[in-house]
């Protein structure tokens, strides 16, 4: 670490962090691990930008998680968190720090802001990365991301060693460990914004609270797919999830068909989960779905098609109609678990 030396050109790591209810978000704590490792290997500093209101507490948390410097953009008008605010703050911060890489989570915010910033700075951007590495010969950062819906992996590098931007897929790494003895600086970001350039107005934000256990926090997830055949079949999925004190997920088909709400979708365009046990029912195993669950410890597939791709990606499989299999499975689990 070189906290006291002058910031070198295109060498530091900057994380664009996110705060939920005054706490650093889980995705950001994962980024902190990736960012800290990268900064250490480069022998440089780790900066974290936090934007919004009620983030003072989170800034000390960021230091405990490994930040050398926390840049704090709090108070009005930052609290509105319009995309253009982020881009302007980041554009200024990048001009000052000249970071080697700016890291975002592949979240609602990250996937929106990262490409805008790349356009503004005219630098390369890599979305949805699952691995960052350093090429020892060229000292280039190597960025690996799934392509073709997860059928293949591509490893990219930027041509020059100017600033580059990446988003990291959630749940591909463990969160950073917190250490309260860590030291760091908290620096306020000056509120100089070019407000007339902000043409987009946020009218409202509506959050749909999901009931029960949060998908991301669940130890067990039971997911239903197109093979369930309609809204009616999902009571069995709910019953199995309830028996295992787990959460319910869905693949793309039940979402597109309107059988179940969109906020339960797991996969490339939905939630990324990494539970201990992931049970799929009537899911064929498209790579776009597996993208959201392949990090699970143990995967079980129930599908009536013995050739379904899902069996190639699972640890345990049952070939058969879920209408027959699930009631017996639930009953047996209940009797074992209550014993």
């Amino acid at each position: 670490m070189n906290q006291n030396s002058e910031i070198s050109k295109y060498e530091d790591v900057l994380i664009c962090g996110e705060v939920n209810h005054s706490k650093i978000s889980t995705v950001t704590t994962e980024l902190m691990r990736t960012g800290r490792e990268l900064a250490d290997r480069l022998g440089k500093s780790l900066h974290v930008l936090l934007v919004g209101k009620d983030i003072e507490e989170a800034s000390s948390e960021a230091i405990a998680l490994g930040a050398d410097k926390v840049h704090l953009a709090s108070g009005a008008p930052f609290e509105e968190s319009l995309p253009e605010f982020y881009v302007q703050i980041l554009t200024r911060l990048c001009a000052k720090l000249e970071p080697r890489i700016v890291l975002f989570g592949q979240t609602d915010m990250g996937r929106d802001i990262a490409p805008r910033l790349a356009g503004r700075l005219d630098v390369p951007v890599f979305l949805d990365c699952v691995k960052l590495d350093i090429d020892l010969d060229s000292q280039s950062i190597l960025l690996t991301k799934p392509v073709y819906g997860g059928n293949a992996m591509a490893e990219w590098k930027a041509h020059d060693q100017n600033t580059q931007i990446a988003t990291m897929r959630p749940r591909v790494t463990e969160p950073a460990e917190s250490d309260d003895s860590r030291q760091g600086e908290i620096l306020p970001v000056p509120e100089i914004l070019d407000e007339p350039s902000i043409k987009v107005k946020l009218l409202r934000t509506v959050k749909e609270e999901s009931k029960g256990i949060l998908l991301e926090d669940a130890k067990v997830v039971v997911a239903g797919g197109g093979g369930i055949g309609g809204k009616e079949g999902f009571w069995l999925i709910e019953e199995l999830a309830h028996t295992l004190r787990g959460a319910i997920g869905i693949s793309r088909v039940p979402c597109d068909e309107g059988w179940m709400p969109k906020n339960l979708e797991i996969g490339q365009t939905g939630h990324m989960v990494r539970p201990d046990v992931y049970i799929t029912v009537g899911i064929s195993g498209a790579p776009q779905h597996l993208a959201g669950c392949s990090g699970s410890k143990f995967i079980v597939a129930i599908n009536k098609d013995p050739d379904a791709h899902i069996f190639k990606e699972s640890d345990l499989g049952l070939v058969g109609d879920y209408r027959e299999a699930l009631p017996s499975l639930i009953e047996k689990l209940k009797s074992i678990l209550s014993a």
Binding site: P124, L127, N151, V200, F298, A325, S328, L333
Partner: protein, 266 residues
Amino acid sequence: MNIVVCIKKIPDPEIPPAKFKLDTEAKRVLPPEGIPPVINPYDEQAVELALRIKEKSGGKVIGLTIDDEASPTVVKHALSMGADEGYVLTDATFLGSDSLSIAYILAQAIKKIGDVDLVLCGRQAADWDDGVVGSLLAETLKYPLVTLASSIEVSGETLKVSRVLLDGYQEFAVPKPAVVTVSSEVGKSRLPSGWGIISASRKEVPVWDASAIDADPIRIGGGAARKELVKLYVPARERQCEIIEGETIVEAAEKLAEKLLKTGLI
């Protein structure tokens, strides 16, 4: 309302994983045998959204694609769905362009088309899954941007755009002209009608090269690319699946329960 929809031709993303093949040496994906390329499904949904806006507010829908060859296939698809015009951008100097250059090429064409109120792009292309061109296009055109839209309402000079969040949605008011990227929540795209196919087949699809859109050679092609593909590979499969046997499904299901318990994870 004149709406340009940017569309891309890609290998069919719905092929079974077993049909997916690549040439790791050449770092490229091999086209699946006997399966023709298709319009990127997310772009098809952008065409769908554009047509819904046109039905309410009038104006025209214009398909725009960049292709390695002067092939009107995906533009014709948009026309057969109900789009009014379409253009193909093709030039040997476009080859190897990265996302920043692609956005620049599209921006040049949009300026040439002129009098555009709204530019729609799919949220990402289902081949390289980058999901950045629409946003870079907004930055290049200096138009306001909303990403991941599920619906757009027009009221005068303002667009009301709904943006999908993982756990909800946001609504934005945006002045025209704007760029909006379109999410899958738009829903199913319409099928081309018989009449649509006939009328599309009769329409001319102009082909523009680099000079037609006045593209600066410094900003396009492999020479301008800021990034390089180091490796392309199929990820190793780590799991070995044990299929549970049983005389009946009930018996298999009970065995499954026992095996699940033995993992110590539940």
